[in-house]
Symmetry: C2
Subunit: 226 residues, 2 copies
């Protein structure tokens, strides 16, 4: 049974990569830079987006992935940018990740001509989202300091396949028994020298840097000046 | 393709339930009460176990589920109780949950005659672990207040299928913009009147109640006095 299961999974990943390439071609045709944003539940993805997208100089849109509901999409409504909600609870008990086909199914609802940057907020989960490419340019993950120093070692694929780690909730450090240096050491152990930013969505620390990073990413992809 | 996928998943769940019943029969034959302990990554499962199992009056064992590594099992070593590590990174990029067959594969390593209580610490994830029964008596989940008020609404199956919710990291409440009443309201919306305990693994608040709950659970299952 295990053998059969693995083969099904491999077929699914092949199909996923084919569809991810189709998504990529569509994004390229419209000049849209795409970020796959991932984290544990409650690490602060939506709040960090809210903070950065307000006042961002490029035209952004968001695809919100959730098992159920539209709470995060509703939270972004005040930004007056295109936000599309994608729920994964169709079959089964709810998919724990977005795959390329789910993202593809949402493309008709996205006016790609009207945006330069698409942020896809994945389902909160440190395992499966890392296994499915969706046609993104880069992967950004949020890791909250409240989750402890050991997370890179316990969920290595996620930390290894991302291009930027936002270390969030830095304002809580004085109240935690967490060793930030050890977290960064563990991060380097699974992904040496991966870019990281220490941020606090609550106090605003590091948010300017995160917003600049987004602008520069779009500028670099489009070949234009910032 | 979606149709095929759903059928495969249903078959997998059928097979899972068959094996879960076999696990259950083995646990019953040895008089072992089994808890499936679930949460997001970093919500505090291991620390809450460490606190409760030290000084517990019944004989406990732990099955540690992780994608990779044995960090949590190592943390429990000082309790001098049986601890078995189960890693899910065999095929694929790592399974995001434990299923009945994985638990079954660990049973030979567990001396069921020597324990009254087995706690299975699942992979940190609020989606898929809720979909797979492993032969447990009860499901306990840990929800950290740092994750925000909205988690029951976003991950309803997990909150709906558990028997006890440990609301952890209560010591951080003064430093968070989180409304505890709203969290509890959302919890009742998806699982009315589910038992809940407000705890802090760090300060020890609520740990006695959690330890008593464990003892009484074992006593009730075995028909003995506490």
């Amino acid at each position: 049974m295990h053998r059969v299961k693995v083969r099904v999974v491999e077929d699914a990943l092949d199909a996923n990569n084919t569809i991810a390439r189709a998504n990529r071609a569509d994004f390229d045709a419209h000049g849209v830079t795409v970020i796959n944003l991932m984290s544990s539940p409650g690490a602060g993805k939506t709040t960090l987006l809210e903070r950065a997208l307000g006042g961002l100089s490029v035209r952004a849109g968001v695809l919100e992935g959730d098992v159920q509901g539209s709470l995060d999409a509703d939270r972004l409504a005040h930004l007056h940018i295109p936000v599309v909600q994608l729920n994964t609870d169709g079959g089964f008990g709810g998919e724990c990740h977005l795959d390329a086909n789910m993202v593809r199914s949402a493309l008709p609802a996205l006016a790609l001509d009207d945006i330069d940057l698409l942020v896809v907020e994945n389902v909160g989960n440190l395992v499966c989202p890392a296994e499915f490419r969706i046609g993104e340019d880069v992967r950004v993950m949020v890791s909250s300091v409240t989750e402890g120093e050991d997370k890179p070692l316990k969920y290595p694929l996620m930390f290894r396949t991302c291009d930027l780690v936002l270390v969030n909730k830095l304002d809580l450090m004085p109240h935690l028994e967490v060793d930030l240096e050890r977290f960064l050491h563990n991060l380097d152990a699974v992904h040496p020298d991966v870019e990281r930013m220490l941020v606090s969505a609550r106090t605003g620390e590091g948010i300017d840097a995160w917003r600049t990073w987004l602008s520069e990413l779009v500028a670099a992809r489009s070949g234009a000046a910032v």
